[in-house]
C-alpha cells in the first residue's frame, strides 16, 4: 500500500506544465549555452602566435637579419617596430605595446665570423606567463638550431638524434576541439542545477511546498517528478550542444555518440541532485542563484576544463576528484577527441553515479529535517 513514489505522476504532469508556461526561461536557458559556445569556440585561441616584438638591431648586417627572419618565420613573433637605442627598446615593453624586445649587439656578425660565441639579448614581459613561456621556448630553440647548423656546417657531421613528435588527437591544436567538449560539462551543469533549484525554491517562496507536504505525496515521488522533466531538458541541451559542436565548429567526434548520451545520464543526475541540495538550503531564488554559482566555479577551475589538473597544487588536485565535472570532462574529451569506449570510461560513470546517489540521499534527508519539520 505504501508506494514510496506516490504522487510522481501528478508532480511530473504539473512540472511539465510549468516548463511549457514559462517558455522564456526555457528558451534563454537553452540559448545562452549556445551563445557561450560561440564565444569560446570562435573567440578564444590558446595557441600563442604573433607576439608583438620590438627589435634593436645594432649590428644590421646580413647575419643579424637572417636571425630575425628565423624568429619571424616561427610565427611566434611579429616585428612591431625597430628602434635605435636601449631606451626606446625598454619603453616599448613598459608601455605594453610589445611583449618581447630583441637586441642584437653591434659586434654580432663579427663574433660569428671569428667563431666566437655571439650574444643576443631577449627581454620578455613576464606578466602573462604563457606568453613568456612560449617566447623563451621559441627563442631558445631558434638559438640552438642556429648554433647547431653553424657547428655542423663547419664539421661536416649530421644530426645524431632526431625527434619526430606526432600529435595523436587534435593534431592542429585547434582550440575549439579542446574547449567545446569540456564546455559541454559546464553548460549542462549550469542549466540543470539552476532549473531544478529554482523550481523547488519557487514552491518554497509561494508556500505550495508546504501544501504538498500535507498531501499523500511521498518525498521520492515529489523529487523524481520534479527531476525528470529537467533531465529531459538537460538531455535535449546536450544533443543541441553536441550537434552545434560537430557541425558549426567542425569538432570531429571520434567515439560513439550513443555512449556519450548514455554516460551523460549519471552526470545530469548529479547536477539535478545538486540542484535539490541547493534548494533545501536556499530560502529565495536569489539565494539559490548565489549557491548555484558556488558550484559552477569549481567546475570551471578545478575540473581540468581550462587548467590541466596535473599541474595543480596537491590540495586542488585532490579537490578536483570531488568535482563532478572532472569526470564528465574526461568522458566528453575521451569520446569526442580520443574515441574512447565503455572500457575506458566506466569508472568515471560509476564515480558520477555514486556522487549523484549520495547527493540525492543527503538532499532528501535535509529536505525532511530542515524543510518539512520546521
Amino acid at each position: 500500500m505504501l508506494n514510496p513514489f506516490r504522487g510522481f505522476g501528478a508532480v511530473f504532469y504539473k512540472e511539465t506544465l510549468h516548463v511549457r508556461r514559462d517558455f522564456a526561461t526555457l528558451f534563454f536557458s537553452l540559448i545562452i549555452p549556445i551563445l557561450q559556445m560561440f564565444l569560446l569556440g570562435y573567440g578564444i585561441d590558446t595557441n600563442i602566435r604573433q607576439i608583438n616584438t620590438v627589435v634593436y638591431n645594432a649590428d644590421g648586417r646580413r647575419e643579424s637579419r637572417e636571425l630575425l627572419d628565423r624568429l619571424k618565420n616561427s610565427d611566434t613573433f611579429r616585428i612591431y617596430r625597430y628602434v635605435n637605442n636601449d631606451h626606446d627598446l625598454n619603453e616599448a615593453i613598459i608601455s605594453g605595446k610589445c611583449r618581447v624586445g630583441i637586441k642584437i649587439p653591434v659586434d654580432y656578425s663579427d663574433k660569428l665570423l671569428h667563431q666566437m660565441p655571439a650574444q643576443v639579448l631577449v627581454l620578455i614581459d613576464g606578466s602573462d606567463s604563457s606568453v613568456a613561456g612560449q617566447a623563451i621556448n621559441v627563442t631558445t630553440a631558434v638559438g640552438l638550431d642556429e648554433s647547431l647548423h653553424r657547428v655542423l656546417a663547419n664539421s661536416g657531421a649530421s644530426f645524431a638524434v632526431e625527434m619526430r613528435p606526432k600529435i595523436l588527437f587534435n593534431p592542429d591544436s585547434r582550440s575549439p576541439n579542446f574547449f567545446l567538449p569540456g564546455l559541454t560539462a559546464v553548460l549542462l551543469l549550469n542549466v540543470t542545477t539552476f532549473l531544478t533549484a529554482f523550481s523547488i525554491v519557487r514552491e518554497k517562496e509561494r508556500g505550495t511546498l508546504e501544501q504538498l507536504f500535507v498531501t499523500p505525496v511521498r518525498p521520492m515521488g515529489l523529487l523524481l517528478g520534479k527531476l525528470l522533466p529537467y533531465l529531459g531538458i538537460g538531455f535535449f541541451e546536450l544533443a543541441m550542444i553536441v550537434t552545434a559542436m560537430r557541425f558549426l565548429f567542425s569538432v570531429p567526434i571520434h567515439g560513439s555518440v550513443f555512449l556519450l548520451a548514455f554516460l551523460s545520464l549519471p552526470y545530469i543526475f548529479v547536477s539535478l541532485s545538486l540542484g535539490i541540495l541547493i534548494s533545501s538550503k536556499a530560502t529565495s531564488q536569489a539565494h539559490a542563484m548565489q549557491l548555484a554559482f558556488l558550484t559552477i566555479l569549481p567546475s570551471i577551475f578545478f575540473s581540468g576544463y581550462i587548467f590541466p589538473r596535473e599541474t595543480m597544487p596537491k590540495f586542488f588536485y585532490i579537490l578536483s576528484y570531488f568535482v563532478p565535472a572532472t569526470y564528465f570532462i574526461n568522458i566528453t574529451r575521451g569520446i569526442i577527441l580520443r574515441g574512447a569506449g565503455w572500457v575506458h570510461l566506466w569508472t568515471d560513470a560509476l564515480a558520477l553515479f555514486v556522487m549523484g546517489t549520495l547527493l540525492l540521499i543527503i538532499a532528501a534527508r535535509r529536505f525532511h529535517d530542515k524543510v518539512i519539520t520546521t
Binding site: L2, G7, L17, R21, D22, G207, E210, L212, T215, P216
Partner: protein, 328 residues
C-alpha cells in the same frame, strides 16, 4: 480503523519542543464530527505547530493525537489521505489554470481519471468556478483564489478539512461568501478546523479554543466562553460607552473608580464595571470631566472581550508565577 464514534479529532496532552523552547505545552481538545472548530490565538502562539502535529508533519514530543480515527503517530500517511488542508497563502500554482490546479491536486490524491472528472465538475459547480475554468490562477481575485484552493483541498472528499487563516488578506464580501460555503459544507457532514484572527469569524464557529503561548486557555462554544466566570467576575457587568471622541472617553473612563478594565471598540469604549456603579452615576462622572457621551448601555461580552480578558489574566499570572526570572 475508523472509529464509529462521533469524534473527528482527539488531542490529548500534546507537547512539542524545539530545543529548549516549548511551542505547544500540554494541549488537549476534542472536535466532534460536523463542527466548525475555530482555533484562535495570537501570532506565534502555536496554532500552525498544532496543525502540523495533527497532520503528521511534526512528530509529537509527547501526547496522543487521533484524527479521523487514525493514530497520527502510528500512521501519518493515512491521516494525510483522509484530510484536506488549505494554507494561508492558498498554495495555488499561479501559472496553471483553474482546471490544471484541480487536476494536479486530484492526481496527487490518486483519483482515477473518471472519478477526477466527476469530482472536478462537482467542485466547480459547488464553488461557482465555472466562468474561470480556463483562466490562470494568477488572474483570479483573492476570493476566487481561495475558493479554488478550498476546491483543491476537498477533491478527494475528505471528511475533515484544515483551514489555516483562510481569510487573511481577502475582502469582506469574499470572506462572507466563504463562510456561507463552509456552513453549507458543514451541513453535509464535513468537519472544519479553522484558524483565524478575526473575532467575527470566531463568533460563527460552533466550537472555539483559544491558544496562548502554547497552552489552550479557553475551550467551548462561543456562548460557553462568554459565560466564563473569569470573564464575568461576580459583582461586575459590562457596558458600552459610545462617544464622539473615543480616546478622550477612554482616558476619563480609566480615572473613574469602579471601572475595572477598558478597551476601545470602534466608536465606543467597552468597560467592565462594578455593580454598585449605575449608569446614571457614570454619565455624571463623564459630564463632570467635560466629555460628551452619546450613549451608555449594558452589553454581553463579545468573544474579543473574552480573549482580551483571558490574555491579560494569563499575562499577569505569568508575571506572578515567574518573579525570580532575572532579566527577561
Amino acid at each position: 480503523m475508523p472509529t464509529t464514534d462521533n469524534t473527528a479529532i482527539t488531542a490529548q496532552h500534546l507537547v512539542r519542543r524545539f530545543g529548549n523552547f516549548t511551542a505547544v505545552n500540554d494541549v488537549s481538545f476534542t472536535v466532534q464530527k460536523g463542527e466548525i472548530f475555530g482555533f484562535l490565538g495570537p501570532n506565534g502562539s502555536g496554532k500552525t505547530t498544532v496543525i502540523k502535529m495533527l497532520t503528521g508533519l511534526l512528530p509529537l514530543s509527547s501526547g496522543y493525537a487521533n484524527v479521523q480515527g487514525i493514530d497520527v503517530r502510528k500512521d501519518p500517511e493515512s491521516v494525510r489521505e483522509n484530510i484536506g488542508y488549505m494554507s494561508q497563502n492558498f498554495s495555488l500554482y499561479s501559472d496553471l489554470t483553474v482546471e490544471e490546479n484541480l487536476t494536479f491536486y486530484g492526481r496527487i490524491y490518486g483519483l482515477d481519471p473518471q472519478n477526477l472528472r466527476r469530482r472536478i465538475d462537482d467542485i466547480v459547480q459547488l464553488n461557482g468556478l465555472a466562468p474561470y475554468y480556463k483562466r490562470l490562477a494568477a488572474q483570479l481575485s483573492g476570493g476566487w483564489k481561495q475558493r479554488l484552493a478550498l476546491g483543491c483541498a476537498m477533491l478527494h472528499e475528505p471528511k475533515l478539512i484544515f483551514l489555516d487563516e483562510p481569510t487573511a488578506g481577502i475582502d469582506p464580501v469574499a470572506r462572507r461568501q466563504l463562510w456561507d460555503l463552509l456552513f453549507d459544507l458543514s451541513g453535509h457532514g464535513i468537519t472544519f478546523f479553522v484558524t483565524t484572527h478575526y473575532m467575527d469569524e470566531a463568533e460563527r464557529c460552533s466550537h472555539v479554543a483559544y491558544i496562548y503561548f502554547g497552552r489552550v486557555i479557553a475551550d467551548g462554544t462561543p456562548d460557553d466562553l462568554r459565560e466564563l466566570p473569569e470573564v464575568n467576575p461576580p459583582g461586575t457587568y459590562r457596558v458600552e460607552i459610545s462617544a464622539p471622541h473615543v480616546t478622550q472617553a477612554l482616558r476619563v473612563a480609566r480615572t473613574i473608580p469602579g471601572i475595572r478594565s477598558t478597551t476601545i471598540f470602534g466608536q465606543s469604549v467597552h468597560a467592565l464595571i462594578d455593580d454598585h456603579l449605575d449608569l446614571d452615576h457614570l454619565r455624571d462622572q463623564f459630564r463632570k470631566q467635560g466629555v460628551v457621551v452619546a450613549e451608555i448601555r449594558p452589553l454581553a461580552p463579545s468573544l474579543e472581550d473574552v480573549f482580551v480578558d483571558l490574555t491579560s489574566r494569563h499575562q499577569s499570572e505569568q508575571a506572578v508565577a515567574a518573579p525570580e526570572a532575572p532579566h527577561a
